[in-house]
Structures are given as structure tokens and as C-alpha cells.
Symmetry: C2
Subunit: 467 residues, 2 copies
């Protein structure tokens, strides 16, 4: 055989192999994935898992006893659902505990008597002691206004951040993104100027009076008391400040930073049949805020990720790549679980082909957001675009680049293609970080369809690759 | 000028005129329509209108006093929102009234004592008298099974239709379509074979025990008692029938056909500035089942249709075509309002360019279904496809041909392009025709976004035409 003939033969083989690997049987895959959906809608225990996480475990801040109970339960469930390996990865996390007392009242307005305000401590808020703190309230909309007032006018005061989430944003996550720095950085910036406390308008677009919590961060500053306030009381307080020059508020909080604790990220995997060293990760974060039951945030994401493995087992699909479920510790209070996970993955030289996280609630599926390092972003997006007819047949119309999810974002620089599962956003902030984030507010079918969406994506990546 | 030159000039003018009319400023329209959405999300009274319809009026079957109250309220609202003309169109409708008594119990099984079943009368069911009817229950899944049993085995019995809505259908309306003939035609077919009563598994995919109503039709047969039964009790009854050869049930109903009554379809319009004789219709049906408050079905659709006119008024948009809001009488009990409306439109030679109805609930928007007579279907669909980028920017991804909505379907043979507004379907049958169809189960933002979707479509049709 001449070199030319050999070259030609090699070319043919190569071309055949490539086209074989990439031939997409669209109709066949739609049919098969709909079978997965049917299996999930009829057989999945994910809704029951969520019931346990919400009702038997409850809210589970990183480092809390409840978090340990969540680790115990999910480790056991991953084991019994048939993972080849289940383990936990320890990480030190800060443990802040809400106290029984969280109160605020207006004490010197022209109102007759006192007026209670619906508040809840933000994560890492300082406690106040039994008598609480009392100070005059200064309302600002943003940091520019705060800084314009300066130390003279802020020192000794309680800063009230009252910029609303914009209800005109169609995607409520965009409204959240535009408002949340008041909560994450507001108390710190107020403390820098000598404020003795902070009140932050709750991050919600629902016009009720339920206060929402969430993390706030202090760097080198000594933490000050910081609370979220219900929207109705925020409006009331703001209206009062327009009428009266001096409105004093007393805040009492018994929350406390308890120091660091050990918490575990929970991991279970099905070993790949062809490429066991290449990992497809599905995950959510196991910790949650403590006011509700962490139902949408992120119990839903955890059980959807577990369901992906379970439907593969139930249907006898042996993945070619290793399929790994990761339930991250401590997303809410600092992302330490995700950081440790990425660090360990790098140390061990693990290759994560793709990572899919569900952390935007258990509502009706709409699609995915994709993110990847610049050198692979285009080819991976092009590959996923090949599947758009399949996704559309499942109601997953909205496939876009840009953003994914917090925990998996730590894997981006390891060459992992990242996917944030996206359900509809309209209801999410009705519940988020509040006492309303409970099991009853998760719709069973919507939850299961989300598991289906993630399973479909994993199935396609495992079969066709993602680049 | 030569004929050739004149012809060329005419061609240029014609081409310019055509392209002028059809040039779509996509970015500009997205920007403008998002302004409409912002206006709706901040200013719309639609949620308050729905509150009145649900809480001050309540369930409103065609011909009932409650229906008359709904006519009174919406006529007044259309007037005050600034319609140029508001009127009502009378139509004779059958008036069936639910009674205070609707009960069923198992009376002779091996259970100790009696066992109550959760049932509710279907529309046009016969009443039973004080002692009720008692008969042995025969379970069937479909009409084939019924007919195979035949008169000998059906006569004197109570037929129990127990075919579930398939929970594996991703679109719950498809599951409904595949199951609902048990309710609409089941009692009639059972009566033909001599059955004395009918029990029908409720049309829902939610695994609770809430019975759902809905219309059933008798043609020449004398109506027999017919009830919907909650899913848990349907399963229980079915399990019992597998164990025991003879299960008797007693049904007591005090419902009654009250004869015909006059009801009104409510109509309000803004006269078109350029083509007043060409009508763009937006609508819903004003009647509802009586068990709940007709919140999703179809209070939501009515207030969304009213909102389309209101946002045009609020924003000072003068439509080129006449924009008409039609709240149809009697969709639930026979579609007499829609039939009369189409008949009158034809008699008067009215030209309905397009008709858009919302009658699939107030949930998060997903898109539209289109329908039109064969000779115009393709060109109208092609026109709407031009707007798909605009629609996608609003989350309206799902634009398809086939089907629209019941009331407007009567206008199809008059050359009207029909649009059924489509929200997500996952939750709809949790509430549909049951006591759970109440105001509290409608999400304000989702309701308003539906109004926005309809307003966007009307705006584009008015500006660019629909063919």
C-alpha cells in the first residue's frame, strides 16, 4: 500500500469515526428522553426526598446541627440509590446562629405608642444584647447617597437601605442582581462610616411584609447589627421619615457568630463505563437559610441532582463518563464547600468534563445558562445548540451563554463546561431566604420536570460529548 | 412618459409602500413593548379587577345571579377605563344550579359502617331526590369497555369512569384532551345503556381528593345523576371493586336544571383611528364554574383582555384598528355566548381581523397557538414568525399553529386569524373547575405578564397587520 493510500484510508477512518461520534438521531433522542421524563414523572422519589429535607431536617445553615442531619440523610440516600461510591469532603465553615430574639420597633415618632417592624437578622449580623441598640434612622437608596452623607451624618445612626428590587425587570434574578449589594455590602459600608446598625429592604418583588435574610459580609470591620425588613414596613418607615425629621428605632437581636465548625460536602458517583476518569458533575448546595426549610433554595436543586443519578439507575443506563452528584456545603455563608471541592479536584488532577447545578428554585423549567473558559466556550456552545430541537420539545426554550451557578463556577478555570439549570423566575423571590421557603411552595411536577431537564442534558453530554 | 416608465414608477411606488408597511424595527419594538410591560407591571389594575370578580362576585355560571353581577361589574369597568363604546349582547342560556346537597357513600362493603366519597355534581347532572339513588358500581376505563359490557350489565347500575389523566404528558392540556370525554359524554353513553348514575374520575393530575366539576351533555336522553370524584376516593373505590364483587353506592344531589335564562356577553371597544371597521378582538369568558371563584378559569383571561385596552389608554396609544374587548357569556355550559356573537358579527358584516383569547389560566406566559382558515393560515403564520425575536425577548418562546380557544373559534370561517394565549400548563388542572380555583392561587406577576403578552401581540398586529 502506498503512503497515499494509507493516508486516504486513515482519512476515511478518521472521518467515519468523527461523524459516527457526532451523528445526532434527533427523533430517536426525543423519544428516548421523553421515556426518561415519563419514568421520572411516575417513579421519582425526589419529592419525598425533599419532604424529608424540609420537614425532618428543616433549615440547615452550614455548620449547624441541622446541616449535619442533612449530610447524614443525603449520604444514606445516595448510598441506597445505588451509587458505586459515596463519600463526604470536610471543610471548615463559619457558623453563625440566629437567636430567638429578633425585634425592631419605632420608639419616638408621633405615633401613639410603639410600632413593631417585621425584621430578621442577616447572616453574620452582630447581636445586640438584651436592651438592643437604639439610633436615629437615615434612609439611603445606594452607596453614593451613603458616601455623600459621610461620617458626620452616619456616625451613631442606623442606616436604612431602601432601594427596591425593580418589579419591571422580567427576569427577577436581574432585579435581584441590581439590588442585592445593599444586603451583601451595605452593613459593612455603613459600619465603615460609624453606623451602629443597618436595616435593609428585603430582596423580594412580592408586596407582603415577610422579612428576608441572606448573608452580609464584614471584612476587617467589627460586625454591627443588620436586619432585613418586610416591604410593607420598609414603605411605612420611609413614609414616616418623610414626615418627621427624627425617627428612632430600637433593634434587638440575639444572633451570634459561633466560630468555625466542620461541615461536609456530600458526594456520590456512578463510575463511567468507558471514561471513568472524566466526570460529569450534577449538583446543588445542601446548606440553606434557617428561616424556612430551604425548599426551593436549594433543597430542590439537591434532590434534582440526586434524581439524575437515580433515573440512570432505574432505567439501567450505564454512563460512559463518571456521573457524580455533589451536594455542596456552605454556599449561603461563603462558598467554602465549593472552594474546597475545586481545590481538591485540582490537587487530585480530576477532570470535570461538565458541571450542571440547579440553584434557582424548583419552578417550571425554562432552560440553561452556559459558561466556560474562553478557549472552549464557542465549541461547547455550538455543540449544545445542536440539541435545541430536543430541548424545545421538552419546553427548554431558553438556552443562553453567560453565567451558570455559584458552586460550580469554581471549576471554570479547570476547563469544565458549566451549566446553570434555569426554571422560571417569577415566584423565586417570593420565598428566597424567608420563612416562606417551605415544602408546600414547591410544585411536585415542576420539581420533577427540572430533574428531567438536568437528566436530559447529562444524557446528551455523556453520549455526544460537550465540545 | 412611456407606459414602461409609468409601469416602472408604479412598481417602485408599490414596492416602497409595501416595504414601508412591512419594515420591522425589531430593536425599537422590543424597547417599546418592554415599556408597555413596565407600565403593566407597575400600573395595571388587573389584579384588583380579578379580586373583585373572585371575592365580590365569586363563581358565576351562565344565567346565575352571580353572572349578572359579573356583567354589571365588568360593564362598569370597561366604561370607566375609557372605552369609546360599551354594550352587552343578550343570549339565552341554559341555567343549571348546584344544590346544597352533594353526597355519595359506599353502603354495603365489608367496611364497618358507611364510607363517604368526595364528589361534586357535573353540570347538567340530574338531581336525585332526598333519598338519593343507590346502585351497584361498574368500573370502566373507556367507552369500548362500556359498550362491551352492554345493556345487560349496565342497566340499573352506576357507571364509574376511572381513566386517569396521563401524568406523563408534559403539556397537561394534552392529558386533559385524552381523558375528558368520560366527563362530557360518559354520563350520556351510560344513560343510553340504562345506567342510573355516573361517577367520573376528576380531571386533574394533582393527587389530592378534591372533586372537579365541568359540563356533561345529554342529548335526547333524560339526564341521570353524574358526579366527579376526588382522585384518592376514585383509587379507593377502584381498589374496593377489585376485592368485592358487589359494591353499592348511594348518591344524593339537589342540583336542578332551572330552564333558560338571559345572560349577556360584555363588549367594550376603542374605535380605530385609520381602519375603524376592522376589529382586533381580545377576550375571555366571563362565566365560570361555581365551586371556586373562577379565578384562573377564566377570570384571569377576562382581566388580561381588559388590561390590553387599559394599557393602550394609559400609554396614549391610539390603535389604527378598532380594539374590542369581548367577555363571552356561557363558555362552560354550551358556548352559546360565542355562537351568538359570531352570528351577530356575520349578520352585521363586521370584519374581525384577528381575535386573541386567554382561556388557559393566569400562569407564567409561554406563547400563542394560532389558527386560521386554510386560505390565510400560511401567510398569517409567516407574518407572526417575523416577530419571534421580539416574542422571545419577552419569554414567549412557544409560538405554534393548531388550536386557539373555544369562544373565538366560532369566528374562524369569517376569515379571522385566531390566537389562543398560552401560559405554562403545569398547575392549571390543580384548580380547574374545582373549589381551589380561587384568587389566592393566581400569582400577580404571572397574571400581569399574560396581559403584557396579549398587549404585545395586539400592538404588533395593529401596527404591522397579520397577513
Amino acid at each position: 500500500m502506498s503512503y497515499k493510500k494509507i493516508a486516504l484510508l486513515l482519512l476515511i477512518c478518521f472521518t467515519t469515526a468523527c461523524s459516527f461520534a457526532q451523528t445526532l438521531d434527533e427523533d430517536g433522542e426525543i423519544k428516548y428522553i421523553k421515556k426518561m421524563y415519563s419514568n421520572i414523572l411516575t417513579e421519582s422519589p425526589a419529592h419525598d426526598w425533599l419532604h424529608y429535607l424540609c420537614k425532618q431536617v428543616g433549615g440547615r445553615l452550614g455548620g449547624s446541627p441541622e446541616y449535619a442531619a442533612a449530610v447524614s440523610y443525603t449520604t444514606h440516600m445516595l448510598d441506597t440509590l445505588g451509587c458505586d461510591t459515596v463519600w463526604t469532603q470536610a471543610v471548615e465553615v463559619p457558623y453563625w446562629r440566629r437567636g430567638a430574639i429578633e425585634k425592631a420597633k419605632i420608639i419616638n415618632s408621633n405615633y401613639v405608642g410603639t410600632l413593631d417592624l417585621a425584621v430578621t437578622a442577616l447572616g453574620f449580623s452582630a447581636g445586640t444584647g438584651a436592651l438592643g441598640i437604639t439610633g436615629a434612622v437615615v434612609e439611603v437608596q445606594n452607596f453614593e447617597e451613603l458616601e455623600a452623607l459621610g461620617k458626620d451624618k452616619i456616625k451613631g445612626k442606623i442606616v436604612f437601605y431602601n432601594r427596591p428590587m425593580e418589579i419591571t425587570r422580567l427576569n427577577t434574578f436581574h432585579a435581584y442582581g441590581a439590588a442585592v449589594n445593599q444586603r451583601t455590602a451595605g452593613p459593612r459600608k455603613a459600619a465603615e462610616l460609624g453606623a451602629i446598625g443597618t436595616i435593609v429592604r428585603s430582596m423580594t418583588v412580592k408586596q407582603d411584609n415577610v422579612p428576608h435574610s441572606g448573608v452580609t459580609s464584614f471584612k476587617n470591620e467589627t460586625p454591627i447589627p443588620a436586619v432585613g425588613i418586610g416591604l410593607q414596613d420598609a414603605d411605612l418607615l420611609s413614609a414616616l421619615l418623610k414626615k418627621e425629621s427624627n425617627v428612632n428605632v430600637n433593634i434587638q437581636l440575639s444572633c451570634k457568630h459561633m466560630g468555625n465548625r466542620i461541615a461536609q460536602t456530600v458526594i456520590g458517583e456512578i463510575t463511567g463505563s468507558e471514561k471513568p476518569d472524566e466526570i460529569i458533575l450534577v449538583g446543588g448546595h445542601l446548606d440553606s437559610w434557617d428561616l424556612g426549610e430551604g425548599a426551593h433554595d436549594d433543597g430542590a436543586g439537591c434532590v434534582q441532582a440526586m434524581e439524575v443519578l437515580h433515573v440512570f439507575k432505574r432505567m439501567g443506563i450505564r454512563p460512559k463518563h463518571t456521573l457524580r452528584c455533589v451536594l455542596f456545603a456552605n454556599e449561603e455563608n461563603g462558598l467554602f464547600g465549593a472552594t474546597e471541592y475545586a481545590k481538591q479536584a485540582k490537587l487530585k488532577g480530576e477532570k470535570h468534563l461538565a458541571a450542571i447545578e440547579s440553584d434557582a428554585g424548583g419552578h417550571v423549567p425554562s432552560g440553561f445558562r452556559m459558561d466556560a473558559a474562553a478557549n472552549i466556550a464557542k465549541e461547547s456552545y455550538n455543540q449544545v445548540k445542536n440539541w435545541r430541537t430536543i430541548f424545545a420539545s421538552l419546553g427548554l426554550w431558553d438556552i443562553q451563554t453567560g453565567g451558570s451557578a455559584a458552586d460550580i463556577s469554581r471549576l471554570k478555570d479547570q476547563g469544565t463546561v458549566l451549566f446553570g439549570y434555569r426554571p422560571d423566575s417569577q415566584r423565586y423571590f417570593d420565598f428566597h431566604h424567608s420563612a416562606n421557603d417551605v415544602f408546600e411552595n414547591v410544585h411536585k411536577r415542576e420539581l420533577l420536570l427540572g430533574g428531567g431537564a438536568m437528566a436530559a442534558l447529562v444524557y446528551l453530554i455523556d453520549k455526544y460529548g460537550v465540545r
